[in-house]
């Protein structure tokens, strides 16, 4: 009698553990889910509308991942440290508009490298202000950065200007047009992969090194995992906070210049309202919103998925109006999936 029951229990435990093992593997490797989703979307869209696989479309998507990707890396670093930043689009808009204005009016001959450097410094400075505020006010970083977002954008639109800049500086224009390589399609149309995608590649590598190969990376994950314990271990919360927000601001500043270079105009109203889809991308990439986790690879997969949602739905006849609803479902779905804590 006891043998039979224990047998049943054992076999049930066995079946359960097989299922558990699969779910646990996915919970431990959140980016895998995102990768599967990407593959699924690609296959479905590609079979409904073969135009999807055209090189020009793929190039288009690669181009539009640049700004998003830069933003997302910044959000990832802040999120890993247990914070949340929604002011990065305001920082990017501010930096891009002010720098475009300055360069056009004062130094029209300035080459692109110093422009990028100034943008990075300016962004980092604004970001550091976020970090100082978050660590001094001891308030949730979401609330603080909502405040700074409005201050920065309001300041930009009130005191600096609301007019479009159509004639952007030569060097930025040239940088946006500079081609990494061309592709000639069968019907003779040429599509171009611009050089500025390399900026994202560099940012990805630097962020990966930062998170995985430096003491600061250790500190970021430690503070995000458990701030109290990290502090007792001797990590300075203040330093980490200021660093992560400054880093996010730095990337946002560069992203702003990329935005101008690729669109060939500087519009101070641009970029506003795209914060949520960036956060969605990072969360889809498996970073837990409570901090202490998240990877560069996952974040990039999340960015690709969001770009797919934005770019290809039209190709299969889903109206673009449904984008927001689908993004919302993705956030909730990913949040629900990744809120399952891996059990030992």
């Amino acid at each position: 009698m006891t043998d039979i029951t224990s047998d049943i229990a054992a076999s049930r435990a066995h079946a359960e553990s097989a299922f558990n093992r699969v779910t646990r593997w996915f919970v431990r490797h959140p980016p895998a889910v995102t990768a599967i989703l990407i593959a699924l979307v690609c296959v479905v869209v590609g079979s409904i509308n073969p135009d999807f696989w055209q090189i020009s479309n793929l190039f288009d998507m690669a181009r539009s991942t640049v700004v998003r990707g830069l933003f997302a890396l910044g959000v990832l670093v802040v999120l890993a440290a247990g914070g949340l930043d929604v002011s990065f689009t305001a920082i990017a808009a501010f930096v891009m508009y002010v720098i475009t204005m300055l360069v056009t009016n004062c130094f029209p001959e300035m080459p692109i490298l110093p422009i990028l450097l100034v943008a990075a410094i300016g962004g980092a400075f604004l970001g550091a202000a976020n970090g100082v505020l978050v660590s001094t006010l001891k308030a949730p970083s979401l609330i603080v950065t909502i405040g700074t977002q409005y201050v920065i954008r309001g300041f930009l639109l009130t005191f600096i200007g609301t007019a479009l800049f159509m004639n952007i500086p030569m060097s930025m224009d040239a940088f946006g047009k500079l081609a990494l390589f061309h592709h000639q399609s069968a019907n003779g149309a040429t599509s171009t992969m611009p050089v500025y995608v390399l900026v994202l590649v560099v940012a990805v590598i630097v962020t990966w090194l930062l998170l995985n190969r430096t003491l600061m990376g250790r500190a970021i994950y430690a503070v995000g995992g458990n701030a109290g314990i990290a502090e007792r271990l001797g990590y300075s919360l203040r330093k980490v906070h200021i660093f992560v927000f400054a880093y996010a601001g730095l990337l946002a500043g560069i992203a702003g210049i990329m935005h101008v270079a690729s669109n060939r105009l500087a519009n101070p109203f641009d970029l506003a309202g795209s914060e949520l889809e960036i956060i969605a991308a990072v969360v889809l990439g498996g970073a837990r919103i409570t901090g202490g986790s998240g990877s560069v690879l996952g974040t990039m997969l999340g960015v690709v998925l969001i770009t797919l949602v934005n770019n290809v739905l039209i190709l299969v006849g889903i109206p673009s109006t449904s984008q927001l609803a689908i993004l919302g479902l993705f956030i909730v779905g990913a949040g629900a999936l990744f809120s399952i804590k891996p059990r030992a």
Binding site: L137, G147, Y150, T162, I289, T321, A325, I326, I331
Partner: protein, 328 residues
Amino acid sequence: MFVRWSDRQLNFLVFANALVIAVAVIFAGDTFLSLYNFQSMSAQVPELALLALGVMLAMIAGNGGIDLSGIALANLSGIASYLLMRDWVSVDDQPLTFVWIFAGIALLIGLAGGMINGALVAFVGLTPIIATLGTQLFFTGIAVVITNGSAVSLGYIEPLDNFGNTPVFGVPMCFALFIAIAVLLGIVLRYTPFGLKLYLMGSNAKAARYAGIPQRHMLFLTYTVCGILASIAGIIIAARTSSVKWDYGTSYVLIAILIVVMAGVRPEGGYGRVICVVLSATALQMLSSLFNFLDISNFFRDCAWGLLLLIFLATSRFDLRALLPSRR
């Protein structure tokens, strides 16, 4: 654990209200004090203050609580309710029935939206930020889909318009309704077991669990109430503007949080008073009307709201209130 009726925060907010009125009289003259101006201001307070009350409830509950989906749900409930009703009940034949059914369906949508938030936070275990961020996009997205992205005009529906714009005994009806809701919510928070448990849960989640408070149940209820408050705001918006659109009040998320922070609600949970939220909403509304009088641009207004939010976060941290006059 209950604070005295008049605490520092309350005194401060009364003082802030008086200060704004005084400044307004100096800069904008007596027109600011006219009955008409006060009526139009008090008709504008409810929608924001109801959303702020929702944010306050979510914050009191602790657990990193916040409700970012308020204005999205408010817009959705107005839009969906009207679109459902439009072909079903004739406005011209029975305007009053139309309005009641419109309000009823909007409330049901708010209830459903709040329950979705509540279920996500309480039972699925999502962080409130991510849950309400996701539903914010989701609700807005649905509103965009069913309206195709354009505003929907309600036309002139007399009873609804009266509710939004016509004062009875000098008080706009939507403001009276709002005060009634605020009083009810204040009583629930102060004198009922629900309120006691909510504050306890926000002050110390662990202790609350050992005290046997059903936390998931409480969280679910709290976010459901947030949803209902949002849908009432949606009805008031529809009544006041005679139209519904998906992108109404894009900066309301910020302003609702600003009202709540200014009212001294603790973002980490456990403290918050309805009366303070109401007073902080009226102070902000008067400030906003003053900006109107002075012809200050909307962009600067956003900048000012952001600055105020940071300043009030700072004062709650460093307790500058001690420097202000209080009746101690």
